[in-house]
Amino acid sequence: MTGTCPECAAEFELSGVEQGEIVPCPECGVELEVLNANPVQLGLAPEEGEDWGE
């Protein structure tokens, strides 16, 4: 299956991924979330926030 990076528009092969999995774009390196596994739909992965609590 082929996915498209929403950041750089690169198309690349993906196999055996599951919905919710985080994968890197092989072209631009950005982290992507598999929003749908079949057909593959990719979105930018949630970013890491910080807070001071426990």
């Binding site: 599951e18 919905q19 919710g20 999995e21 985080i22 994968v23 982290e31 979330e33 598999v34 992965a45 949630p46 970013e47 890491e48 926030g49 910080e50 807070d51 001071w52 609590g53 426990e54």
Partner: protein, 364 residues
């Protein structure tokens, strides 16, 4: 069962927690459980877990431990039942439960119990829920005992990430007491007083942390070494002068504590350094096998998932390095309310977190 007065406060149209789940949280929050005084709350949690089908007991460390489900894989849900001091009248107003520990971390702990019970018949794994003692005090004895168990396949730490967020890591901590005692001296005479030397030591700690941060070049506060002067005192009786400092450092993962302590000892000169807490930071990656089911479940519950890194410390830093298994922290509540007089949790968020974790456990 929750009293009618508890149930009728749920906001109409909102995500409403199961009355039994609200009753569980209300009961556990109502019982005061400061570190080293958790016995009554632990006993109640064991009773509540047993009533929900867990094989429940108090372990040798004093933790509440409940086991449910069957399967090859073992999942540990590690929460803590102790709280910091500060009595907040326990009440439910406008579907918000107020009380010490509602967020940190009885809300997440009761989420674990409720979700594991709800998922019990569809579990493909053995799930162990732990209400650990002593997380809020140095040494975290409950989690330290649990860390000696064989490593599970997966672990979730019960802390308030927010119902729609997955926490990936915590900073570590090093805390110590600096004490300098020297013969009393005339203030017009040569040399530095004990208090002056203590101040110089603290300034040295700040400068050393700044130098390490310059080497690390952190891109976030999580990656930064942060020193804190917690308290200071000095006195004398005419024979000896004394100065004491209580110092804490928050440490990003990767900082070697023994090397850091060597520098601290050198800066302290003739003063003594008594370490009262040391735990290296720990973080996991977004590609953890625990992440996909959480992201799916949060989206299914109507949320937009987030990742968080915490500037404080939790039991993830105790069991994470010991077990090396996939690990994240999760639980409802706003961590900004931790340890404050305003501690409270929205019951809708509690309900959403139970739904999310139930989905996660059924998927694993």
């Amino acid at each position: 069962m929750a009293s009618p007065s508890l149930l009728e406060t749920a906001a109409p149209g909102a995500t409403v927690a199961n009355p039994e789940d609200v009753d569980l949280l209300h009961r556990i929050v109502t019982i005061e459980s400061l570190s080293d005084g958790e016995g009554e709350a632990v006993a109640e949690l064991v009773r509540q877990m047993a009533a929900r089908g867990f094989d429940a007991e108090v372990d040798v460390a004093g933790n509440a431990v409940g086991r449910i489900g069957a399967g090859e894989r073992h999942i540990v849900l590690l929460g803590h039942i102790d709280t910091v001091p500060g009595r907040i009248p326990v009440r439910i107003e406008n579907a918000v439960l107020h009380g010490r520990g509602a967020v940190d971390a009885k809300g997440p702990l009761c989420t674990f119990v409720a979700a594991a019970a709800a998922a019990a018949r569809r579990l493909n794994a053995r799930v162990t829920v732990v209400g650990a003692v002593g997380e809020e005090r140095m040494g975290s004895p409950g989690a330290t005992a649990v860390a000696c168990w064989p490593a599970p396949d997966l672990c979730v730490i019960g802390e308030p990430s927010g119902w729609d967020a997955v926490c990936l890591g915590y900073r570590g901590t090093l805390s110590f007491i600096y004490e300098l005692v020297q013969p009393s001296r005339h203030t017009a005479g040569p040399g530095e007083s004990a208090a002056e030397q203590a101040v110089a030591f603290w300034n040295g700690i700040v400068a050393h942390a700044a130098a390490l941060n310059a080497e690390i070049q952190p891109t976030s506060t999580f990656g930064t070494i942060t020193p804190t002067l917690r308290s200071m005192a000095s006195d004398g009786d005419g024979m000896a002068d004394r100065a004491t400092l209580s110092v804490g450092l928050r440490l990003p993962p990767g900082v070697d504590i023994s090397t850091l302590l060597g520098t601290i000892q050198a800066l302290a000169g003739p003063a003594t350094i008594r370490v009262d807490g040391a735990q290296e930071g720990y973080r996991t990656e977004k590609r953890s096998p625990l992440v996909p089911p959480f992201l799916r479940a949060i989206r299914a519950a109507g949320g937009t998932p987030r990742f968080t890194l915490k500037l404080g410390t939790s039991d993830m830093t105790v069991v994470g390095p010991a077990w090396g298994c996939p690990i994240v922290a999760y639980g409802p509540g706003d961590a900004a309310l931790d340890h404050t007089p305003e501690e409270r949790i929205e019951l809708a968020d509690y309900a959403r977190a139970i739904r999310v974790l139930t989905d996660v456990l059924e998927a694993l």
